[in-house]
């Protein structure tokens, strides 16, 4: 009876009605949700650590595509835990729905509430090719808790019937959009964004170039798969794990000086910068010219202030553009000095195409995209695209380096979502 009342009268942070019309979707109204595997309801088929690990991954998979995040809570009073999970058979855990034994029903969930798994089922780890994947069932039931109904759409995790887990089980595009319809898409600013160039030799000795797009925020980062319009499965990861030797958080800028003679990659933070060795996949302590790292920005780039807001390398002009506050500095890498006409106000160097539609100062990142052949300036959850050569050829009246009106970052690079910090090391 208590559970029935709980379903009708959810506590604070639990319920929000999206529409006054009948049948409004009810969803959680807070961003971080707590969960716990009940101590009195462990499965005897897997170790407790295995069960918790599977649930942690299941929650994280939803967190990677929504503005929600989930943390395991082992200490708070049970009544304050948002989602409780447990295993039972037949009449179980005070639940009014009775499990039917092995076969047919394998689990159920209460919207905005708890999840129960039928202990009479052979629930297995994701790596097993037998039984029913606990991960897939958990992801499905969490979908219900968050407010999703069943669907018969092929490929959806919310199909009512169980299908064996695929080798690469993930939430597909439609499941993402379904949950984002309830909770919105992920927003937020970034510290730096850049394309990382990989150079390879083919079997014929030709040099082939590939690039990967990275978004950095605080102490974590994502690889963005442009062809799939999403981040790499399993991201974000900690900067420390993927980029050895650079600061663990709060990167200000990244620059790749790439000319016929030079191939140098730099990370900037505070008053210092680091040079990164892509072959060894770690920051250099000393380069071939004898320069030690980290180095002061004022030493390596005379005339450039610090800390910086953003930076990028213009390959055509062979200049690094450094951004700080309302100013932009153009640094000639061949002469190793700031161009004489700089610094310039950002509004002057990159004039607004639509009046007053301009970041003006303190941008977060400057990103040159090889995929789109354009420069983007990021600030908050918006970006401004800089007119490139091609665009001006079509319309010469547009100002050189003009900024097109701002748009949301999540529109061009969707689904870059935070996860709870406790799950960053998964």
């Amino acid at each position: 009876s208590k559970r029935f009342l709980q379903m009708l009268l959810p506590g604070p942070g639990r319920q929000r009605e999206d529409s006054p019309a009948g049948g409004a979707a009810r969803i959680f109204s807070k961003k971080t949700l707590s969960w716990r595997l009940l101590g009195e309801a462990y499965s005897s088929q897997l170790s407790v650590d295995e069960q918790r690990s599977v649930f942690r991954l299941a929650f994280r998979m939803w967190s990677e595509v929504t503005p929600l995040d989930f943390r395991e809570d082992l200490t708070s009073p049970g009544a304050t835990v948002d989602i409780k999970l447990g295993f039972g058979r037949g009449r179980h855990l005070g639940c009014p729905r009775v499990f039917d034994g092995s076969g047919q029903e394998f689990a159920h969930a209460w919207r905005l509430g708890d999840i129960h798994f039928d202990e009479d089922e052979h629930l297995t780890l994701p790596t097993s090719d037998r039984g029913i994947s606990l991960l897939k069932v958990a992801v499905h039931e969490i979908g219900h808790v968050l407010g999703l109904p069943h669907t018969y759409r092929t490929g959806s995790v919310m199909q009512p019937n169980y299908t064996p887990q695929e080798p690469a089980f993930e939430l597909d595009w439609s499941d993402r959009k379904a949950i984002q319809k309830l909770y919105g898409s992920c927003q937020g600013s970034f510290d730096t964004v850049f394309d990382w160039i990989h150079k390879e030799r083919t079997q014929y000795g030709e040099v082939r170039v590939r690039f990967s797009t990275y978004f950095f925020r605080k102490s974590w980062y994502w690889l963005y798969e442009n062809r799939n319009n999403r981040t790499r499965y399993g991201d974000p990861s900690r900067i420390q794990a993927g980029w050895r030797g650079i600061p663990a958080q709060g990167i200000d800028a990244f620059v790749h000086v790439w000319t016929w003679r030079r191939d140098e990659r730099y990370f900037f933070k505070g008053h210092r910068y680091w040079r990164y060795d892509s072959d060894q996949d770690q920051a250099l302590t000393q380069d071939q010219q004898g320069r030690s790292y980290p180095e002061l920005i004022s030493q390596g780039f005379p005339g450039i202030p610090s800390p910086l807001d953003a930076a990028y390398f213009d390959r055509r002009q062979q200049q690094i553009y450094f951004f700080k506050e309302a100013l932009v500095f153009a640094f000639d890498v061949n002469r190793n000095r700031v161009q004489s006409s700089y610094p310039m106000r950002m509004t002057e160097a990159f004039p607004a195409v639509v009046p007053h539609n301009h970041p003006v100062r303190a941008i977060d990142a400057a990103y040159y995209s090889y995929a789109q052949g354009s420069l983007f300036l990021f600030k908050g959850d918006a970006y401004w695209r800089v007119l490139n050569h091609r665009a001006r050829q079509d319309n010469a009246r547009l100002p050189a380096n003009g900024l097109l009106p701002k748009r949301p970052i999540s529109g061009a690079w969707p689904d870059i979502c935070d996860v709870h910090s406790s799950t960053l090391n998964m």
Binding site: S102, Q104, F106, A107, P149
Partner: protein
């Protein structure tokens, strides 16, 4: 304990006492359709005793037809072996609340008939 022989428990066998009763007849099928929201737009009932009324007659045939349609089965409205097998598949216990609209029936069937052999064995679900 549930019986197993492998080190990794991968061959775990549930006790016969703990096996779900197969959906093998009209009554069980009616309960299935009612339980998972195929008969009437049902709320998530707090107690099994308050399940929505099980569908009968034309309503049952219509419910069966809709179930068959979404499960890519011939929408005959009849409880054939394939339909019962679909009902016996492992599934989530949450009702299917958003149901597809009813399809126009090709013929009126007052009472659905169980097809196939009359012996219960022919309607047994396949082993998982």
């Amino acid at each position: 304990e549930m019986l197993f022989h492998s080190r990794d428990h991968s061959d775990l066998e549930p006790s016969p006492l703990h096996r779900a009763k197969p959906i093998a007849d009209l009554r069980a099928a009616q309960r299935f359709l009612s339980r998972y929201g195929w008969s009437v737009p049902s709320a998530w009932a707090p107690s099994p005793k308050q399940l929505p009324e099980a569908p009968v007659g034309t309503a049952l045939a219509e419910a069966v037809r809709r179930f068959q349609h979404v499960n890519a089965l011939p929408a005959s409205g009849e409880l054939d072996a394939a339909t019962l097998a679909a009902m016996n598949r492992p599934r989530c216990g949450v009702p299917d609340t958003r149901l597809p609209p009813p399809a126009a029936p090709s013929t009126l069937t007052p009472t659905p008939a169980l097809l196939g052999s009359s012996t219960p064995q022919s309607l047994q679900p396949k082993a998982r």
